[in-house]
Symmetry: C2
Subunit: 187 residues, 2 copies
DNA sequence: TAAATTATTGAACAGTTGTACAATAAAATT
DNA sequence: AATTTTATTGTACAACTGTTCAATAATTTA
């Protein structure tokens, strides 16, 4: 038994390529479904068979990017910075290099006219990655809600990324790492 | 010399009321400009004379709400919680009661299909409110970028609000305050 | 390979969007 | 109160949206 109908694969591929092509010239919000379909040579009705919004199509990519973030946490950390592992687990900090690598996409998902969905996808992933560490590094008080704590920490890191984005990613990823370490030592 | 043309005031008021009316029954993304104008009995072209998107209209409200957040920081803090003022400036923490008060609106601006703009407006305001405190409470290292630090702290607090929103605001505002204090003591 | 399944197409429809322009009405100014 | 200024209206247009349906084509299954 086969899982994927070849026609579906082809259609989605064509739509993916079309969206990427258009994104080189205009922001996500300025792209119309008709336009994508025209370029992809796919009937507009077919688009609606697979997606409901352009955002759904974009989300398919972005999920791959977020997957790369998760994967990057597996391989050993090579960018060595002097930091005390008791204060900050180095794995925590690989996210900035990931963002730097995909900055064209982060420029999209952090732009103000784009829906929050992608931000939330990212937040969930960072939470998931942090959660393991939080448990290990700190003994939790019983009275603390670990969901609140995880979202607090994850969103704080996303705050750094937002500020970085506002600076048009002009600093090095390593600089962001240093800042994070300093902020954590301070608090 | 007069500043505001009465016709403009009336038009905007009608549009405001129409949007609020519609928001009772459907989410922001499902509301069309035509619909608003039909209810407001305002020509559609007139809408475009003042706004470019529905979001602009909604933003006018939301700015008032954010203003209330800022104002609430002026009056003395009455919800007394036992906390060490050296560890956490109590003014920091008034935000949860504000959100509770306007939770219908925060439900809108934190929903996933809504653009990031409103989130950024909120983030900027929280940063502004925190910035004063951060400077006072901590001696900043020279090497730390206060913009990064401010966005880190402000976004962390918004993280708690996001988690609270995901829980459909079921906890009390005071509970959020307690959690924040505990998290800050922990870090 | 033939039959069955199902994705894609094309056409059509009512509603929305963004824009333009002349005519009109409402407000501000003198 | 008369005049000037300007916001609003109505109309029109091309493009986009979301949906439906029968006809057709591509792919899978037996």
């Amino acid at each position: 038994m086969t899982q994927l109908d070849l026609r579906i694969v082809k259609t989605k591929e064509a739509l993916h390529i079309a969206l990427l092509t258009l994104l080189k010239n205009k922001p996500l919000e300025a792209i119309s479904i008709s336009e994508i379909c025209r370029i992809a040579k796919v009937n507009r009705g077919t688009f609606y068979l697979h997606y409901t919004q352009i955002g759904d199509l974009f989300e398919e990519y972005f999920k791959e990017i977020v997957e790369d973030l998760a994967n990057s946490y597996q391989e050993p950390y090579r960018h060595v910075i002097k930091l005390n592992p008791k204060e900050l687990n180095p794995t925590t900090i690989r996210i900035f290099h990931h963002v730097e690598k995909y900055k064209e996409y982060y420029r999209i998902i952090l732009s103000k006219n784009v829906p929050l969905t992608y931000y939330y996808l990212l937040l969930e992933e960072v939470k998931r990655l942090l959660r393991g560490n939080l448990d290990k590094d700190y003994k939790l008080e019983d009275s603390i809600d670990s969901n609140f704590q995880a979202t607090y920490a994850a969103n704080a890191i996303l705050g750094l990324i937002i500020e970085w984005y506002n600076n048009d990613f002009e600093q090095e990823a390593d600089y962001l790492n240093e800042q994070l370490v300093k902020i954590l030592r301070l608090t």
